[in-house]
């Protein structure tokens, strides 16, 4: 618990970010609802609801790169993989919880774009899970913040413009990329357990 607590303490600003974004989007929805029609608000919401997904990817890229004490961590019983995975879980957990709140709020206000009922919650939650799992893989492979950040935007662009508009069934829409992302995360998890690789890659930076 102390280990999770200290990681939480290190990341608390980024952990708060999704909730601040959620509050902002909900507030925007609440304000717009009283002055605009639903037809006018929904396109705006379509844009705003993508902001947490982009923020999740960029935040994950940030927390998983640029730590200077890899070698030190690997010389302790804790190890670098545990550090990275704990950080990934914390940041993903925060964004998932906030995405749930965002969906609930907008769904109740009938402002969620393409709302198909509660099942539509898989869209924001799934997006964040997919983006973060794949960013984790990229971060492990490249140990580069710029590359991981670019990758997070590329994954979001793919989901937003290439995948989601054509696969409209919410379960299929998320299930297939979820499997791919989970497989990527498992691959990253395995790779991240190689202390020698971690140390050599960081020493090479």
């Amino acid at each position: 618990m102390a280990f999770v607590g200290i990681q939480l303490k290190r990341l608390y600003r980024l952990v708060l970010l999704p909730f601040i974004l959620t509050a902002g989007v909900l507030l925007a929805g609440f304000v717009l609802e009283s002055i605009w029609s639903l037809r006018r608000i929904r396109p705006v919401m379509m844009v705003l609801t993508q902001v947490p997904v982009i923020a999740a990817g960029l935040s994950t890229a940030f927390v998983l790169n640029g730590d200077p004490i890899v070698e030190l961590a690997e010389s302790t019983p804790t190890g670098w993989r545990k550090v990275q995975v704990t950080r990934l879980l914390i940041i993903t957990g925060a964004f998932l919880a906030a995405a749930g709140l965002l969906f609930t709020g907008l769904h109740m206000m009938r402002l969620w774009p393409r709302d198909m009922g509660w099942v539509s919650i898989v869209t924001p939650v799934g997006s964040i899970f997919i983006v973060n799992c794949l960013v984790f893989l990229i971060a492990v492979l490249t140990t580069s913040m710029p590359t991981s950040s670019l990758a997070s935007i590329a994954i979001w662009l793919f989901l937003c413009f290439i995948w989601d508009p054509y696969i409209t069934d919410p379960v299929r829409q998320r299930l297939i990329p979820l499997f791919i992302a989970a497989a990527g995360a498992i691959f990253g998890w395995n790779m991240c357990g190689d202390a020698e690789r971690n140390v050599v890659r960081v020493a090479a930076l």
Binding site: A2, R10, E71
Partner: protein, 286 residues
Amino acid sequence: MFISIDHLTKDFRGRPAALNDLTVDLPQGMIGLIGPNGAGKTTLMRILTGIIKPTEGKVFIDGQDLSLPANRRNLKRHLGYLPQHITPYDNLSPLGFLDYIGILKMIGNKRVRQEQAHTLLEQVGLDDVMNQPIGGLSGGMRRRVGIAQALMGDPQLLVVDEPTAGLDPEERMRFRTLLAQLGQDRTVILSTHILDDVAQTCPWVCVLRFGRNQYDGPTEGLIHEAAGHTWVTPPIAAPPDNATIINAEPTPQGTRYRIVTDTPPAGSVETAPNLEDGYMALASER
């Protein structure tokens, strides 16, 4: 802790072997690990700390075989490591950073961690700045934070890689004294290019070259390698041939060289060797 290294080889893809059939026994106390760049010192230390695995061969620490994951995990609980390049988190205070490292070392009790951190920061002379952000500390103070973190958990094996590189002379002396104190009741492996640090603190030394053991034994023994071969030349115009030059002192009449050779120039005076002479004599033997 007694360390036994048995036919250790470490290959990295596309590069010459970092360690090449290295066999050496290291006793308890302060041990100097010296050798030129690329000799395999850092690789050896990473293997001793359980970070990387050898390609071949074994390491035994107090008889425990490090090739077994359980033994490696157990070692890491009783290990202090100061890597060559450590950048503690700038936004944390020394106290906060040591607490973080205590957690990584699985010291579960917060009170124990805090007590240890306070004691260690006093020991390394950082008690005045223990609550200030590390980002605002000098290079020497950061190195001291590094050694303090290595000592969290009261490790019986302390491995330090180039701890005094880049420190000013005053900090270096302070650091050296601290390491010597620590070596009284634990095994300290000190890797450095600064031979004076080894001469002053380490009764035992191991010299690596091209991943092989070139010498291991008492420091006095390495110094003795140059006995009868260390000379100071009279002031001369050009450096002498067939000699390893240890240093050169300019004088109005020419340059006076300290050399290690079997054939000194005429007028040279034999002098008592030091560790630098011994090391260079050993290097010229290869």
